[in-house]
Structure formats: structure tokens, C-alpha cells
């Protein structure tokens, strides 16, 4: 149906090619996942397939669509791609869905109809087609809504529906799942399945293997612009080579590998013993929950033995800070309501996850944020997580109750002043970056807090180094990958060394390298006595990397305490998890293996397994 056969692609003005030898293809009714970490070239490959880039650089290779071939030699007499005609067949959904809205439509229905309007489809037929597409893709209830009021997942679905309604036969998507919570991911995957069922060919570029890739017929892994791994999802997920790439892999396979590495597993020594042994091991690696259950059950010395709860507590953190220091932030009886959503007139659009008018976003919350510990705030969509975080640096001020941070009452102090004690990482990094270079971006906070030019430059360079961005200090933030842009935003707040780090969904969009960097930085900051607070949907990351959990439900504080205690209360054995939450993967696995009560880190899990 569609294929890219690339021998090399270099952006105009760039020295290094963005893409080397890469071959990607997708057939009608099947999906191809293009997987890679930040800067792997997956976005470039996706955009080439979508016909976006043939004028933006020098391509050597061929694009094929429906049997027709466009061959490029990188010379002046290369064919030119007629984008209007190409996009009739190949639809594209990029990383920033909001930028792909028409910007001139007041409702989702009108947004969907836009491509039909431009083709002069009569109104009666248009009404039928819009309804049909919306029902097919499960977004009929969104039709009367304003595109500006949609949640991340709803927006993504709307943009997809709007680009498939005119009937392209290929859809290319660039990281469609990043930034979405588990529920939204699941529902987006179902939507993509429907498109496959309709016979579309899908090309999905992703950071890791656990997004849409498991449903793809073919997975291509890129690294440094080159195709390094190719095959079915099973082959790729179990591949030994994958473990060495900056790609978020399969958690069960990684755990099994770890088990093998720790010894006690027959396959342990086979890893370096040549291709055959590796293939044997790869075939045995568990990739799904049920396979993992079988795999680990087989590793136990004796089934049925119960072990004590084990969790590798964050080593050396608790107690590293004198108790008399008191909490870094205190919330007392905090109640907050958003003003009623106004129309587009005032520009104040209901924030994506704000609760419906009437119910307070926060309702009488009392909470201490301790120093030297990492606290994760969890809860379903609209539970008030981000609103709570915004109270820490005064972006939101309680209507009832008080918030004290670093000895200052937030009401009565401008946000800019509170920024001395609180570093805030926004969920949308792009609205947080506003300087010409990465270096200046990180210096901004330091300069506004009165640091001299030399001091700011020095501290910024150190922060960039800590975030692994030393090499890109001179570049424009928007030139960087999604993952690196978030790290720039993180560096910009680390540089100032605030007492409290407030991180809104910090794991979103990070690749494997970024995630382990984030975990390390959180550990260091907490060890230095700072309070780290993160809002997250990623419960697996939270239970592995945080000390405390805070659960919000409908704006109220529903539970709080050390991670293991809260997880035990939230996910008791044999019961359905609370709405909007999924039990941590290791917890579920351990529970089903009867390692009860179970472990939360892979080390603890394996220790429990061995001693059981």
C-alpha cells in the first residue's frame, strides 16, 4: 500500500543525516509501528511517509503509494510530490493535535465536516457522513462540543476523525498516545482498531513498545536514524538487542531479564552464549500478564509459600532530614472552585481536566508536603490533582483555607515571588519554553531571581549537564525532540534549586533514557532535603520511585501515606481496583503469584520470588 525506502535523508542546512537506511511499509488493513527514542528519526520517517518533507531536505530513496513510485536521487531533477493529491490518500496526525484543528470551527461536528465542505459535499450527505464517522469512532457525544474544551484523548480522537472522514486509505500518526492516561490510551487503541477494520493502513510512530505496537503487524525500531530491529511485536519485544536501546520496552520481558541476570534462572547464562541460546531465551520471555504469571510461577522454588511484604524503601532518604525542619508546604482546609466556564469571548476556556461547574475542584484538603521525600499525587481524571499542584506556587489561590510554602502564605504573594521556593514543571512543556536558546531558557529563572549573568550562566550549564542536555545548550528549544523539551523545562527549574519541586505529569513523553534520568534527579533532590511532589497517571513509576502516595477523589483527600500502605489499601487482593486507577503491574503480578502482600519494585519482587 505505502512504503518508504530511504537510503538517506538530510534536512536542508543540517550536516548529519536525520535518517539513514530505513525501510518502512504498511499494507491495507494492517498497522506498522515505528518505535524509537528521542532523536531516533521516527518523526522524520513518519513525516516523509505523510509527504511533508520532500521539500525540506535531501532525500535519496523512494516513496511508493498504491503501486506508483516516486524515486529521489537528491538531485535537482527529482520529482516533486503533489502534497494535495498525496494527502487525499495519506492522512497525518502529528504530535501537537491542537495545531491541527482548523481553528475556524465552533463544534466538533463542524471540525469533522471541514474536509467535506472543501470538497463541496452537499449538506444532507455531510450530516449523514459526520454522524456515521463519529459513531464508528465512538465520539458521537463530542459532536456538539467546542474543540477547545476537549480533553487530550478526546482532542486526539477528534483530529483523527477529521483527517479520516474524507476517506484516505493510509493514516500516519506521530506519538498519538503520549500524554494520555491509561483509559484514554485504551480507548484510542480501540479507535485505531476500528480504522484497521475499515481497511486503512496505519503507520504509528511511538517512543515505546507498549502503546499501539502490540497490535501492529510489523514493528520497526529506529536508533540514530537507522533501522536496527524489525519483525513482529513478539520478536522485537523479546529481542536482546532492544534492551540496549533507548526505547521503553516490554515490562514483563525486562523483569524476566532482570531475573535471569540475578541468577537462579536457567536461562541466565545463556545470554552471551551465541545466537541460538539467545533465540531460545527470547522465545521463553514472557510478554503478557498471563505469560508472566506462568514464567515466574515456574521460577519459584516452592509454590504457595507466603513471604513478608518487601519493598526496597528509597535507600537512605527517610531520616536524612532533621525532623524539626517541618513540612516544606502545608495546605489547610483548601477549597477551590473554578469560575464558571465562559464562552470563547473572554478567552477563558474550561481547562481540560476541570470538573464540571458546581463541584469544587478541591474540597477541604489538608496536607503536609514533607521535605526529603518524594510524594506522588494520584487519582482519576478531574480528581483535582493539577489544581492541588497549582496551589503550591500560587498559580491557584484557595478560596477557603490556606497554603503555606517556605514560610510564605501563597495568598498575598505573587507567583513570581513564590517561585523562589517552588519550581513548577508544567504538563505542557511547550507553553513553558519561551526563550531563543536552551541556555537562555534555563537562565531565565535565575536572572529573574536576581542572579548575576555569570552566575546564571554557570548554574544553567550545571543544570543542563545534570539533565543530559549539555550538548544542545545553544539550540532553540523547539528544535529539540518532545522528550528533550520536557527535560529543558525540568533543567530550568532545577537550576534555581527551589525547596519544593512540583512536577505535573513529568513522565509524559519521556523516552527510556529520560525516565531513568528523571528518577535519578528525583532521588538526588529528595536526598538533598528538598520536597518532590509529582502528579501522575503512571502508577508504576510512582510506586517504584516515590516514598508517599496521596490519593484525591472528587477534589477530596481520599488517602495518603507511605506507598506500600496506600497501595495495600487501594488494591486489596481479589477486588476490583477503584475507578480510574489500574493496579501497579508488579503488584498485580505478585498478588496473582500469591506473594502476599506483594512487592512494588522489581528488586523486591525478585527477592520475594526467590525467598518464597
Amino acid at each position: 500500500m505505502i512504503s518508504l525506502d530511504c537510503a538517506g535523508f538530510t534536512y536542508h542546512g543540517a550536516v548529519q543525516p536525520a535518517l539513514g537506511r530505513v525501510r518502512i511499509q504498511a499494507a491495507a488493513g494492517s498497522a506498522t509501528a515505528v518505535v524509537g527514542g528521542a532523536g531516533s528519526g521516527k518523526t522524520t520517517a513518519a513525516r516523509l511517509l505523510a509527504g511533508h518533507l520532500t521539500g525540506a531536505g535531501r532525500l535519496v530513496g523512494a516513496l511508493r503509494l498504491d503501486g506508483a513510485e516516486l524515486r529521489f536521487d537528491g538531485g535537482a531533477d527529482d520529482p516533486s510530490l503533489d502534497f494535495a493529491r498525496w494527502s487525499e490518500v495519506v492522512g497525518f496526525v502529528g504530535q501537537r493535535p491542537r495545531a491541527q484543528l482548523s481553528g475556524v470551527k465552533d463544534t466538533v461536528a463542524d471540525e469533522l465536516a471541514y474536509a467535506l465542505e472543501n470538497r463541496g459535499v452537499p449538506r444532507e450527505r455531510m450530516v449523514v457522513q459526520v454522524r456515521h464517522t463519529a459513531e464508528l469512532l465512538g465520539i458521537a457525544e463530542l459532536l456538539p462540543k467546542s474543540p477547545l474544551q476537549l480533553s487530550g484523548g478526546e482532542l486526539q480522537k477528534t483530529v483523527i476523525a477529521a483527517s479520516v472522514i474524507a476517506g484516505p486509505r493510509v493514516l500516519v500518526l506521530d506519538e498519538p498516545m503520549s500524554g494520555l492516561d491509561a483509559e484514554a490510551r485504551k480507548s484510542l487503541a480501540q479507535l485505531l482498531d476500528v480504522l484497521l477494520g475499515e481497511g486503512l493502513a496505519l503507520v504509528v510512530a511511538e517512543q515505546g513498545l507498549q502503546g499501539y505496537a502490540p497490535r501492529a503487524a510489523q514493528v520497526a525500531v529506529l536508533d540514530g536514524g537507522k533501522l536496527v530491529l524489525e519483525g513482529s511485536w513478539r520478536e522485537v519485544a523479546a529481542s536482546d538487542r532492544l534492551a540496549r536501546l533507548p526505547v521503553n520496552g516490554n515490562p514483563y520481558a525486562e523483569l524476566a531479564r532482570q531475573a535471569a541476570g540475578l541468577g537462579g534462572v536457567g536461562a541466565g547464562g545463556a545470554r552471551a552464549a551465541g545466537p541460538e541460546a539467545a533465540a531460545l531465551e527470547a522465545a521463553a520471555l514472557p510478554l503478557t500478564e498471563s505469560e508472566a504469571l506462568r514464567f515466574f510461577a515456574g521460577l519459584r522454588p516452592a509454590a504457595g509459600v507466603r513471604v513478608r511484604p518487601v519493598r526496597a524503601a528509597a535507600p537512605g532518604l527517610a531520616g536524612s532530614v532533621p525532623a524539626h525542619d517541618g513540612p516544606a508546604a502545608t495546605l489547610r482546609g483548601v477549597t477551590f472552585r473554578y469560575p464558571p466556564p465562559a464562552s470563547a469571548w473572554t478567552g477563558r476556556v474550561r481547562r481540560r481536566s476541570e470538573p464540571a461547574a458546581g463541584r469544587p475542584a478541591l474540597d477541604g484538603v489538608c496536607l503536609d508536603i514533607p521535605r526529603g521525600r518524594r510524594t506522588a499525587v494520584i487519582g482519576a481524571n478531574g480528581a483535582g490533582k493539577t489544581t492541588l499542584l497549582r496551589h503550591l506556587n500560587g498559580l491557584a489561590v484557595p478560596q477557603e483555607g490556606t497554603v503555606d510554602v517556605g514560610g510564605l502564605r501563597t495568598a498575598g504573594h505573587p507567583v513570581g515571588e513564590l517561585a523562589r521556593c517552588v519550581g513548577y514543571l508544567f504538563q505542557d512543556a511547550d507553553s513553558q519554553l519561551f526563550q531563543r536558546t536552551v541556555q537562555r531558557e534555563v537562565e531565565f529563572g535565575l536572572r529573574s531571581q536576581g542572579a548575576s549573568k555569570a552566575e546564571a550562566a554557570e548554574r544553567a550549564a550545571a543544570a543542563l549537564e545534570r539533565c543530559g542536555l549539555g550538548a544542545v545548550a545553544g539550540e532553540h528549544p523547539f528544535e529539540l525532540s518532545f522528550s528533550d523539551r520536557r527535560l529543558v523545562a525540568l533543567a530550568s527549574i532545577l537550576a534555581a534549586g527551589p525547596d519544593v519541586l512540583a512536577l505535573d505529569e513529568p513522565t509524559v513523553a519521556l523516552d527510556k533514557a529520560g525516565l531513568s534520568l528523571l528518577a535519578g534527579l528525583m532521588r538526588e533532590e529528595a536526598a538533598a532535603g528538598r520536597a518532590v511532589v509529582m502528579v501522575t497517571h503512571d502508577l508504576d513509576f510512582a510506586v517504584a520511585q516515590c516514598d508517599d502516595l496521596v490519593l484525591l477523589r472528587d477534589g477530596r483527600l481520599a488517602d495518603r501515606g507511605p506507598v506500600l500502605d496506600v497501595v495495600q489499601r487501594l488494591f486489596p487482593a481479589g477486588e476490583q481496583p477503584p475507578e480510574g486507577l489500574t493496579a501497579p503491574l508488579l503488584w498485580k503480578l505478585a498478588e496473582q503469584l500469591d506473594l502476599q502482600p506483594a512487592a512494588l519494585t522489581s528488586e523486591a519482587f525478585l527477592a520475594a520470588l526467590r525467598s518464597s
Binding site: 494527502s87 478567552g347 505573587p414 513570581g416 519550581g423 529563572g445 534555581a496
Partner: protein, 256 residues
């Protein structure tokens, strides 16, 4: 000042509203008498303002435009009107003349009519309906796009500016009540705001082209602008009568 309308103009076609605004403004220009402007204000625009249901917003916007303009008109014409003969008050180079004062009054009324007519139109018209009406009249699709994008620009800019300002403050930019501090904050906002708007342009242009903005041929629209035979008759006859009046009025003035 341009509104991304959601108000419901009570089933009025945007072109009916536009015709009304054009007739009011043209008549005021033609007749050119403060009494007439005042009558139009009282008899047409004030009732329209009340009926619009958005009088607060419209008046706030009108005040923002009119107050500085009216003040400068008053200063220039009341005090420095060279053609003025009937001096009411003189102090050094400053002469307040009757002619200058009347001229300022006439200008002020006329300006009020223009601004209010424009604001009532733009605050009551639904952008979606205006687009549909223009599409139905086979306007150039790109021109229609630019117009409807402009009608929605203000809310988009406001929401982005809010995000950027929050990010800057979260990193230590202190904005205090004073004019200097606010002015500085505004300057710091401008560059990232424009860069942000531009960075979306490329992406949006691609998406629009992929969805057929550049295709040749006639357009249709999903939303139908409300219309009725009575409104069509009103538009036709109002424009015809306006033309007739203009010919007669100019002819009569010329003959005199």
C-alpha cells in the same frame, strides 16, 4: 475587539445584521448632522444594544475605543479650530470657538454611531454563520478562512498569553500592580507569544491543505446560517432604498 461569537442573534442572518450596520453607518455619513446621529443612537442603536443581551461587554469595548478617541477629538477641535470665528473664550493661543465645539459634538456623535454599530454586529454575529453565509455566496475559500480565523483570534491569543505568563511567573517573574511592572511583563510576553503562534502555522497549514483548503471548486457548509424570505426582502429593499436616498440626497444638496 473582534469576537469569536457564540451569541445567538435570534435567528438573524449575519448578512441581515451587516446590512443593518451598513445602512446605519451610511445614512449617518450622508446626512452628516449631529441631530440625526443622536436620533440614530437613541432610536436604533440603544434598542439594538439592549436586545443583543451583551450590552455589558459591548459597552466595555466601546468605552475602551471611544474614551481616548473622544478626548482627543474634544481637545483638538474645541481648542484649536482654525476656521472658528465666534470666539467663546480666549486665553493666549487657545481659542474656544462655537464652530469648533459644534464640530467636535458632531464628530463625537458620528463616531459613537460607527463604533457601536460595528461592535453590536461583531458581538452578535456567530462566526460560524458568517462563514456559512459567505460560502453560500461563493466567496474565495481562502478569504473566508482568513476572515473566520481573524474572528477567533482574540480568544486563542488570550489563552496562550495566559499560559506563557503563568510559566514566566512560575520561574520568578514578579508582576506587581504598577504600570511599569505590567508594561515590562507585557513586553516579555510578546516574543514567545508570536513565536508560539508562528510555530503552529506550519503544522496548521499542512493540516488545512491535507483537508482540502486549496482544492478547486465550490464549497458547502455543514452549519446553515439562519435566513428567511422576509430577511432577504429586508436586505434587498434596505440596500435599494439606501442607494435611492443617497442619489436623491446628494442631488438635492448639489442643486441647492
Amino acid at each position: 475587539m473582534i469576537a469569536g461569537g457564540r451569541a445567538d442573534a435570534g435567528g438573524l442572518n449575519p448578512l441581515t445584521l451587516l446590512t443593518g450596520a451598513v445602512v446605519v453607518v451610511a445614512l449617518t455619513l450622508l446626512v452628516d448632522a449631529w441631530q440625526f446621529s443622536a436620533a440614530v443612537l437613541a432610536a436604533v442603536l440603544v434598542p439594538a444594544l439592549v436586545l443583543s443581551g451583551r450590552h455589558r461587554r459591548i459597552l466595555a469595548a466601546a468605552a475602551a475605543i471611544l474614551l481616548p478617541t473622544l478626548l482627543s477629538i474634544a481637545l483638538i477641535n474645541v481648542f484649536f479650530y482654525p476656521e472658528g470665528r465666534e470666539v467663546l473664550l480666549a486665553a493666549g493661543p487657545v481659542r474656544i470657538t462655537a464652530e469648533g465645539t459644534w464640530f467636535a459634538v458632531a464628530m463625537a456623535f458620528r463616531l459613537c454611531v460607527f463604533v457601536l454599530a460595528f461592535l453590536i454586529f461583531s458581538f452578535t454575529v456567530r462566526a460560524e454563520h458568517l462563514t456559512a453565509a459567505l460560502v453560500a455566496r461563493r466567496w474565495n475559500p481562502k478569504a473566508v478562512y482568513v476572515l473566520s480565523a481573524a474572528l477567533r483570534l482574540a480568544p486563542d491569543i488570550a489563552s496562550r498569553a495566559g499560559d506563557i505568563s503563568a510559566a514566566q511567573q512560575a520561574r520568578g517573574l514578579v508582576i506587581r500592580g504598577g504600570a511599569v511592572s505590567r508594561g515590562r511583563a507585557l513586553l516579555m510576553l510578546l516574543v514567545p507569544l508570536v513565536v508560539g503562534l508562528l510555530s503552529d502555522v506550519d503544522e496548521r497549514a499542512r493540516a488545512l491543505e491535507a483537508r482540502g483548503l486549496g482544492l478547486p471548486g465550490p464549497r458547502t457548509s455543514l452549519t446553515e446560517a439562519p435566513d428567511s424570505p422576509a430577511q432577504r426582502r429586508f436586505r434587498r429593499s434596505a440596500l435599494l432604498l439606501l442607494l435611492l436616498f443617497a442619489v436623491l440626497w446628494i442631488g438635492w444638496r448639489w442643486l441647492r
